[in-house]
Symmetry: C2
Subunit: 431 residues, 2 copies
C-alpha cells in the first residue's frame, strides 16, 4: 500500500490525557483514534494489526476444534436473570430512545444489557441442541465487541469500555473431559501469545461462585500491569497475589526455587465453570446409562484489542513501536529519500517503484512511503514510529547498489548494502 493512500497520518504531539504508553504509541502512529474515554476507533493501520492478531487466534482455536459463531451484543434480561447476573454492576443497559414497549412505570427499559460475556446465551443455545452424551463434547467461540462500564477507563487500550474479545466455551459430559480440554486450551493460548511474541506466565488465580476450582490467567510481565503475581524464577510456577499466601523469596511449592513478585498484565483467562451455568439454566444430557446429568462447562477469554495494546506496550523504544513480524501492519516499510540533488529523483523513483512491485508480487506486504513533500527526517521518523519489522530505503546513496538499504526495526544499524544483490535475497532475509 502507498503511504499517500492512507487517510491517516502520524501525529507529533502526545495527547495530554493519555498517560498509557500503549495508547500514546498507537495514537501517534495513526493506529487508533480516541472517540471517548475507553472507546477507540481502529484506523486502517490498527485494523491491519488487529486482523493479524485475530487470524492467529482463529487458527489456534480452530486447531483445538473450536467452532466459530457470532452471538448478539444485545443480551436479553431473561438470560442474565437466570444466573442472577442481571443486576451486576459490570456493564451497560440498553434503553429505547422513545418507548414503544413502555411498561406501566413508563420506563424506557428495553430489557437488554450489552453483552460483556456470553455463558448464558450459549448455554441457552446449547439447550436446543444437546440432549445426549453423543452431542458432547463441543466447543464454540466468537470474536466480538464486548462492553464493560469501566468507571475510570485509563491504561489506554488495556482497559476499554468497548473492546474486542475472543470468547470460547466448552461443553462436556464430565469433569475429566473438561480438564483434558482445559489443558488443550492452555496450550493453544500459549501458542497464541508466543506467535504474538509475548511471554505469558500461566498463573493460578481465584475461583468463585461460578467455578469449580481455581481459574488460571495468562499474565504478561510489565511495570504497567494492574496485577501482581508471585512467580518462581526457576520453573515459572505463578500465583496471583490476590489468592496466594506466597511472599517474595519464599520457596516455590512446585520446584523449591525462589519466588519473586512482579507486576503483570492479564491477557487471557480460563475458567472451569463446572455445572454452575448448566444448573442455573437447566442444561442436561442423558448419559450412556440413561441417566440425566448436568453438562460440565468451561469458558476461556482473550482480550484481542488488549493483546494488541500489550504488544505495543512491550515492544517499543523511544522512537515508536517495534511490531513482531506476525502482527505487523506490513512486513516492510519502503522509503524513497530524494535529498537535494534533483538529478537522481527519477532514478530513485523508478528503482523504488520496481522494488515495490517485485515485493508485492512475491506476497510481501509493503507500506511504500512515496511522498515527495516530506523531508528525509520526517519519513525516517514515521517509519520508526509505525514500526514495521523491515525498513527499506532507496536514495541517491543506494543508486549504485543492486537493491536498497535494509534495516531491521529492532536493530540499530542497517545491513551491508552489498548483501542484497536481488529481490530473492531480500525476501529470503525477511522470511
Amino acid at each position: 500500500m502507498r503511504f499517500s493512500g492512507l487517510f491517516t497520518k502520524t501525529l507529533r504531539e502526545i495527547p495530554a490525557e493519555e498517560t498509557a504508553k500503549n495508547a500514546q504509541l498507537l495514537l501517534r502512529g495513526g493506529f487508533v483514534f480516541k472517540n471517548s474515554a475507553g472507546v477507540y476507533s481502529f484506523l486502517p493501520l490498527g485494523w491491519r494489526v488487529m486482523s493479524k492478531v485475530i487470524k492467529i487466534i482463529r487458527e489456534e482455536m480452530n486447531a483445538i476444534g473450536g467452532q466459530e459463531m457470532f452471538m448478539p451484543a444485545l443480551v436479553e434480561k431473561k438470560y442474565l436473570e437466570a444466573t442472577n447476573r442481571w443486576n451486576l454492576d459490570v456493564g451497560f443497559d440498553v434503553v429505547t430512545k422513545k418507548n414503544p414497549d413502555a411498561d406501566s412505570t413508563g420506563s424506557r427499559q428495553a430489557g437488554f444489557a450489552l453483552g460483556w460475556t456470553h455463558e448464558e446465551v450459549l448455554t441457552a443455545i446449547a439447550s436446543k441442541y444437546v440432549s445426549s452424551y453423543k452431542d458432547l463434547p463441543f466447543a464454540a467461540y466468537q470474536l466480538q465487541t464486548k462492553f464493560r462500564n469501566e468507571a475510570r477507563a485509563k491504561s489506554g487500550l488495556l482497559r476499554g469500555r468497548e473492546f474486542m474479545m475472543k470468547d470460547l466455551y466448552s461443553f462436556h459430559a464430565d469433569e475429566k473431559d473438561l480438564f483434558d480440554y482445559y489443558e488443550k486450551v492452555k496450550e493453544a493460548y500459549m501458542k497464541i501469545f508466543e506467535r504474538c511474541h509475548l511471554r505469558a506466565i500461566y498463573t493460578v488465580a481465584g475461583g468463585g461462585a461460578f467455578t469449580i476450582s481455581n481459574t488460571h490467567e495468562f499474565q504478561i510481565l510489565s511495570d504497567v500491569g494492574e496485577d501482581t503475581i508471585l512467580i518462581c524464577s526457576q520453573c515459572e510456577y505463578a500465583e496471583n497475589s490476590e489468592i496466594t499466601k506466597l511472599k517474595e523469596k519464599d520457596e516455590c511449592p512446585k520446584c523449591g526455587g525462589g519466588m519473586f513478585e512482579a507486576k503483570a498484565i492479564e491477557a487471557g483467562n480460563i475458567f472451569p465453570l463446572g455445572t454452575k451455568y448448566s444448573e442455573a439454566m437447566d442444561l442436561k444430557f442423558v448419559d450412556e446409562k440413561g441417566e440425566k446429568k448436568y453438562v460440565v462447562m468451561g469458558s476461556y477469554g482473550i482480550g484481542v484489542s488488549r493483546l494488541m495494546a500489550v504488544i505495543a506496550e512491550i515492544h517499543n523504544d523511544e522512537k515508536g513501536i517495534i511490531w513482531p513480524e506476525n502482527v505487523a501492519p506490513f512486513n516492510a516499510h519502503l522509503i524513497t529519500l530524494f535529498g537535494k540533488d534533483n538529478d537522481f529523483q527519477e532514478d530513485v523513483k523508478k528503482k523504488a517503484e520496481k522494488l515495490y512491485e517485485d515485493l508485492n508480487k512475491n506476497g510481501i506486504e509493503v507500506l511504500f512511503d512515496d511522498r515527495k513533500d516530506k523531508s528525509p527526517g520526517e519519513k525516517l521518523a514515521d517509519a520508526d514510529l509505525i514500526g514495521c519489522p523491515y525498513r527499506l530505503i532507496v536514495s541517491p546513496n543506494t543508486i549504485s547498489a543492486a537493491l536498497c538499504e535494509v534495516k531491521k526495526r529492532a536493530n540499530k544499524k542497517p545491513e551491508k548494502l552489498s548483501d542484497f544483490q536481488n529481490v530473492e535475497q531480500l525476501i529470503k532475509y525477511m522470511k
Copy 2:
C-alpha cells in the same frame, strides 16, 4: 468438517412465531438461533455463510480503494448532537447499571447511543487528518454490528434490531469527484450482488435533508419485500414508489419501454451527502488556490446479515435453501448411506473417508455426514435443508462405481455415476 463435529442440528419444526421464509429456513437448517425479537445468533453454519458474504464485500471494497477500519458501537452524544441526530427515534441509548458519573438529576445516562450509522464519527476522525486538497479523496469502510430499535421486528433477518452492516464513507474535494466515485461504488455493489447470485435493480430513491440529490437503492425483486418499485421491463430503469410519479404501464422516461410495479427488498443504498455533514462538523480543507472549503462526502451501506437472508429468501425450494456456490457454507455435502446390508458398511465407510480426505486436500470444503444413527431419509433431508451446492453419496449402490453419486442441489436428478472416474473429474465438475 464432519457433521458429527457440528454442535447444531437441523430442526424439523418450524417456529410458530417466525413467519418469514428466510428465518424459517435459516432456523431449520441450524444457521441461526433466535435470541430475542429481531436478535439472532449466527451458528457455525450461518457464520460460515456470513464470512463468505463478508469476504466478497471486502474484496470489492478494497478493489475501489476502500480502507478497512473499525469504529465503536458506543457513539457519544457529542457526535450525534452536532448533526441534530441525537434525539432521532432510530436507535438505542446506553445507560449505566448503577451510576458512577451521575449528574445532578441522578440519571443513569451514560451519554452513548448504540451506533446505527457512523457519518459523524468518521467525519470527526477525518477532521484530525484532513487539512489540504492533497489529503483527498479517500474512502474508508467497516464491517460492524449495527443497532436499530425496530418496534416490531419481523421479516426474520431482513429487519433486525441488531444486524451486520458494511458501511463505506467517501471524502472528496468537489461534487464531480464524489459522483465519479459514486459510480465506482455502484459498479462494486452490482458485482457484490452478482457474486451473491442476486439480481439487484438500481433504483432512484428519495433525497432528504442530508443529501444533495436523490439517493439510490439496490432492490432485489421479491414478494416479501417491504418496498414497491416501478421498473422498466426493457432497460430496468427503476424508481421507488415513495418518490415516483410513474404508474404501471407508463412509458419509461429513459427508453420508452413499459413500467411495471414490483415488490422488492432493499439490500443496499448509496447517498450523495454533499457538504451536509462536513458543514455541521466543520470539516474543511484548503484547495489548490488556498481557499478553505467544506469536504464533499458520500455514504454507502449494505446490510450483510440482510443480504444473507435475502439469498435464503430467494434461493430455495420446498426442501430447503439452495446456496449459490460463492456463499455456501460448504462446496459439497458428502453422505454415507449404509442401508440394511451390514456387509458393505466397511466398504462404504472406507470409500467415503478416502473421498473426504482427497477433496479436503484439494481445497474443496466438505460437510461430511458420517453419522451412523441417522436413517438415509434423515440424511438426505438434512442435505437438502442445509443446501450445499453439491451432494455426494457413497452407499452400497455406488460401491461398484469408481467414485460416488453426484447431484447438484439445484437439479432434480443426479449425474451419471460413470461420469466420475476419479476425484479430478469430480473437482473439475464442481469448479
